[in-house]
């Protein structure tokens, strides 16, 4: 364990040696920090506070600690306070992890012990321990106090469930801690501990933890479990009474998971006359219970954050969302009938989505008059089933490991039916289409002042986002066009609109799709080599023959030899082995990834097409025309490529 520093840091950076008595007299100080995201995001302008640091701060204060709580979205972190703490606690989401780590590193360099907690570090404790002395995985309200006892020499670290820590230079991960059952034993989070807190802000109140559903993109069940643990209604009422909020965000992952209990809560709120405006995350089923809906309205529900997730039925299935397009539409009508505003939450970029799905989602939201929306890009969050299945296993590749990009506004993987660049641009553009002057004007005409304000600020936010992220988007675009650049550098003659493809690839199913894709774009395919790759000099002479005749050579890549694909796999390996060492004066080579589980096939086809055209919409259209044939492809048998996505026009 680290010793507490023998000095007190003054505001000017100088250090004052502690007097002997100061170790004993002074209350010990615990500073908790919830860093903010470095990127603009959908909630940048409306801070919905996360409760972890407030709750833990309240518990620490109740046990005699001098506590400071910083939520960076609320007010800047005072580093003098942080560096004068005895212990610093840092909470982290995936998108705020880099900030948390930077802070952790800095605090540790001053000899102050750092404890990290939150969803991200729960699932990445090894990574987090590089920047922290202790990581509390899962729910922290019990582990933290056991940890403090152990740090004070009262009890061993070994017994603290959910703790990860350093022991003799090695990382140790104690077993997981069971989820906390008796939520009411926690104190009511005291918002006054939050530096810079103002009483008219949005108050988060959690009435439950956990979600019984298993959506593939979500890390909530991984963190809080499938069981639904509830605060007593009495306790929630007390929390509302104490905070006197103007607006409550019920921070439950699914506020209506137990409708009977939600109704009881709302009835009590009405009886007690505690009906500030409120909003909560719900599923569409909420709208089909007339009694619940009536109680929501009567208790002053202002808006619902509805997890529609997608208007593409195939995507809903891929997400394991267990809802249908038809019911989404029906639920919107029901919410509208009682006059509850809808914040539509959508996740775009599944393997069944394409660009058109994203724009269609925006059109859908406008058509049905949703007040606000978020189109989040599917993001492999550690702790989600998606991450475990595809990314932790290495089956799919992450384009970036910069966690700050994992905020739902950046494409960090290759989707199946579009490039990451197109996905990112479409998600932002489609949101801009929603937050258009037309939408805003409609709100004005409805005299819906709040929607007008939120929509206008969202419009401005998107503009600012584009400016802030120009380089990232350009980087994604460059990946699509990097072969085009290479060809442009090397070529001294005009494009011939021909590509060289190994004959044995053209003989396979994928060859037919590739040919029709290229034909659609006005590009001819020139076969080279025999039905089987030649060895050594044979190929060199064939490649020499291609010089000047084609603009690039397509080189197939297969990473694994799947069942029934041994022959083509073998041919591809031999082709690569027989490549001549000297490639300088040969046409540019473009890899065509055949068997990756992600969208590498589309990305490589788009890369080839981008040599000949800048119009990616045209490329996308050509791809859509061959999608049905790809689903039955022999080479890609184990890749369940969906046929043309179903786009619903209503």
């Amino acid at each position: 364990m680290r010793r507490r520093p023998g000095y007190i840091l003054r505001a000017d950076g100088s250090r004052k040696r502690k007097q002997a008595g100061e170790y004993l007299m002074r209350k010990r100080k615990f500073v908790l920090v919830e860093p903010k995201s470095t990127h603009l995001h959908v909630y940048s302008r409306y801070t919905i506070p996360r409760l972890g640091v407030i709750l833990l701060g309240t518990m620490l204060r109740d046990r005699g600690w001098d506590v400071k709580v910083y939520i960076e979205d609320v007010s800047p972190v005072d580093m003098d306070e942080v560096l004068s703490a005895d212990i610093v606690g840092v909470s982290s989401l995936t998108s705020t992890a880099p900030q948390s780590y930077r802070l952790g590193e800095l605090v540790r360099s001053h000899g102050i012990p750092v404890v990290m907690g939150g969803t991200h570090v729960t699932f990445c404790p090894d990574e987090a321990l590089e920047y922290a002395d202790y990581v509390v995985r899962g729910e922290g309200e019990e582990a933290l106090f056991e940890l403090i006892d152990a740090m004070d020499g009262r009890g061993p670290f070994e017994n603290i469930l959910g703790l990860s820590y350093w022991k003799s230079g090695r990382k140790v991960h104690n077993p997981d801690r069971p989820l906390k059952e008796d939520l009411d034993s926690n104190p009511i989070p005291d918002y006054s501990l939050v530096e810079g807190w103002h009483s008219n802000a949005i108050i988060s109140i959690a009435t439950s933890r956990g979600c019984p559903f298993t959506c593939t993109f979500c890390s909530v069940p991984g963190m809080y479990g499938h069981g639904f643990r509830m605060h007593s209604i009495e306790r929630v009422i007390e929390e509302i009474r104490i905070n006197k909020p103007q607006y409550i965000f019920f921070a439950d992952d699914l506020f209506t998971a137990n409708r009977k209990r939600t109704k009881d809560l709302l009835r009590r709120m009405i009886e007690e006359g505690l009906t500030p405006q409120w909003g909560a995350q719900v599923r569409i089923e909420t709208a089909f219970d007339p009694e619940l809906l009536a109680l929501m309205k009567e208790s002053n529900c202002f808006n619902v954050f509805v997890g529609f997730e997608s208007i593409n039925p195939k995507t809903l299935d891929l997400f394991n969302k267990r809802q249908t397009y038809e019911k989404i539409v029906a639920s919107i009508k029901k919410f509208k009938e009682v006059g509850i505003r809808i914040h539509g939450m959508f996740v775009v970029g599944s393997d069944a989505d394409d660009k058109e799905t994203i724009y269609e989602t925006s059109r859908f939201a406008r058509e049905y008059g949703l007040e606000t929306i978020q189109l989040m890009i599917l993001t492999p969050l550690p702790g989600s089933p998606d991450y475990d299945q595809f990314y932790a296993t290495g089956n799919r590749e992450l384009l970036s490991k910069d966690w700050s990009l994992y905020d739902g506004h950046h494409a960090v993987y290759r989707p199946k039916n579009m490039t990451a660049y197109e996905l990112n641009v479409a998600a932002i553009d489609a949101m801009e289409e929603f937050y258009s002057w037309k939408t805003i004007l409609q709100s004005v005409l409805r005299k819906d002042i709040i929607s007008t304000i939120i929509q206008t600020s969202s419009k401005n936010l998107l503009k600012a986002w584009k400016k802030q992220n120009r380089d990232y988007i350009q980087g994604l675009r460059d990946q699509v066009f990097d072969k085009a650049k290479e060809v442009a550098v090397h070529r001294d003659v005009k494009l011939s609109y021909r590509i060289g493809v190994p004959r044995f690839i053209l003989d396979a199913e994928i060859g037919k799709s590739l040919t029709s894709f290229m034909t659609e774009l006005g590009i001819s395919v020139v076969p080279f080599g025999g039905s089987s790759p030649d060895s050594g000099g044979g190929l060199t002479s064939r490649l020499d023959w291609l010089r000047g005749k084609v603009d690039c050579i397509v080189m197939p890549v297969m990473e694994k030899s799947g069942h029934g694909q041994e022959e083509i796999y073998d041919k591809i390996q031999r082709l690569w082995k027989s490549l001549p060492r000297q490639k300088e004066d040969l046409p540019a080579m473009v890899k065509l990834f055949l068997d990756r589980q992600d969208g590498s096939l589309y990305s490589s086809m788009a890369q080839i097409a981008a040599i000949f055209t800048k119009d990616l919409d045209k490329v996308h259209k050509a791809y859509r025309s061959i999608m049905p044939s790809l689903s039955g492809n022999e080479v890609l048998t184990h890749v369940p490529v969906e046929s043309k996505p179903v786009i619903l026009r209503v």
Binding site: P212, F213, R259, K260, R283, I284, E285, R322
Partner: protein, 84 residues
Amino acid sequence: MALKIEDNCISCGACLPECPNDAISEGDPLYIIDPELCTECVGFHEDPQCAAVCPIDECCILDPEYKETQEELLAKKARIHPEG
């Protein structure tokens, strides 16, 4: 009429503690209602409580194979809870 749990059940277990007759059990993979024990909550609650807490739409539904009158349900309740 007894209730039954449809195959859209997500096995969340919310219904389990609500049943006054302990008619629900954790099956594999879905939860099951024992029609011999289900009284549609007659005599205890106005509505069947499993359906009231279920987060899924149209999951706990009336089982057309077990049609019973109000009297029959009350008799069933009396049989299950002889103490009253």
